[in-house]
């Protein structure tokens, strides 16, 4: 069984690779390379796969999941400038793909035990563009 909890945060970023020139960055990232930055209301869907606990009937208490997601993701990401304030984006371009992978890395060990594991991370940069990440494996169709 897969259960999903949705969280939101708002953050600013610049899509810029420091190894490229200003012109190359503009050509690669377009308006997202604006050196002053810009922002999004990100929506993240965190999905866990597991069996319900025979006593509680729950894969994970959603209240506990909410606390973990707030502490691990919303608190560090919300109302921040990702490139300057949220590692690893001092070294990695904060594309939606890299944000999804970073969220996966922050959560994987905290949400995995003998009964459940992290299934997928979906990050909406806008309602019209989103990325799914399922770890090293490909997401099932």
């Amino acid at each position: 069984m897969v259960i999903t909890r949705k969280i939101e945060f708002s953050a600013s970023h610049i899509c810029r690779n420091p190894q490229l020139s200003d012109e190359e960055n503009r050509s690669l990232f377009g308006s997202a390379a604006n050196p002053h930055g810009h922002g999004h209301n990100y929506v993240v869907e965190v999905s866990l796969e597991g069996d319900p606990d025979p006593v509680t009937g729950m894969v994970l208490d959603l209240k506990e999941l909410k606390e973990i997601l707030t502490r691990e993701i919303v608190d560090p990401y919300d109302h921040r400038f990702l490139n300057y304030e949220v590692p690893p984006f001092d070294r990695e371009v904060p594309t939606t793909e890299n944000i999804a992978r970073d969220i996966w890395r922050r959560l994987e060990s905290r949400l995995t035990d003998h009964r459940k594991k992290l299934h997928s991370i979906r990050v909406y940069e806008t309602p019209d563009l989103y990325v799914d990440y399922c770890g090293e494996r490909a997401c099932s169709a």
């Binding site: 899509c15 690779n17 190894q19 490229l20 690669l28 990232f29 377009g30 990695e92 371009v93 904060p94 594309t95 939606t96 793909e97 890299n98 999804a100 992978r101 309602p127 019209d128 563009l129 989103y130 990325v131 799914d132 990440y133 399922c134 090293e136 494996r137 490909a138 997401c139 169709a141």
Partner: protein, 144 residues
């Protein structure tokens, strides 16, 4: 490995009517969708591609290129059109959302390599929302 999904919309009219059935059978089968004057929908099309993140850009797909491909192959020929009368693929094929999904997926797959010549990204699937309640999904592997 990432899956990137981009959402597009177009508005079009259609009529569900099969040449292989009589008038009465068509009316029974398709109901109000068989109205001879046609009717329309705000179609939502989600296009998903799969691939690793590029080491330089940190992205799995160039969205501007995908937007260009979808604009040329889907939005320009379909938006504000009558699918039966103006899209050749539906001259003889009923424009159900199943067949629309196949047609959109076929168009994207056929022209994919021109826009994305490398090994990645690959077209994974197309999802059509005819209305917010009726969704149709086709995997690129299902069609030629």
């Amino acid at each position: 490995m990432f899956r990137v999904t981009r959402r597009y919309q177009f508005a079009a009219s259609h009529r569900l009517h099969s040449d292989q059935l009589g008038e009465k059978e068509n009316q029974q089968l398709y109901g109000k969708c068989n109205n001879p004057f046609g009717h329309g929908h705000n179609y939502v099309v989600e296009v998903s591609a799969r691939g690793p993140a590029d080491a330089v850009s940190g992205r799995a797909i160039d969205i501007d290129r995908l937007d260009g491909l979808v604009r040329r192959q889907v939005l320009e020929p379909f938006d504000h059109r009558n699918l039966n009368a103006e899209v050749a693929a539906f001259a003889k094929v009923v424009p159900t959302s199943e067949n629309l999904g196949y047609e959109i997926c076929r168009r994207l797959k056929r022209n994919w390599k021109e826009v994305f010549p490398g090994q990645w990204p690959k077209l994974e699937k197309v999802r059509i929302g005819e209305t917010p309640r009726n969704i149709f999904e086709v995997c690129a592997d299902e069609i030629e």
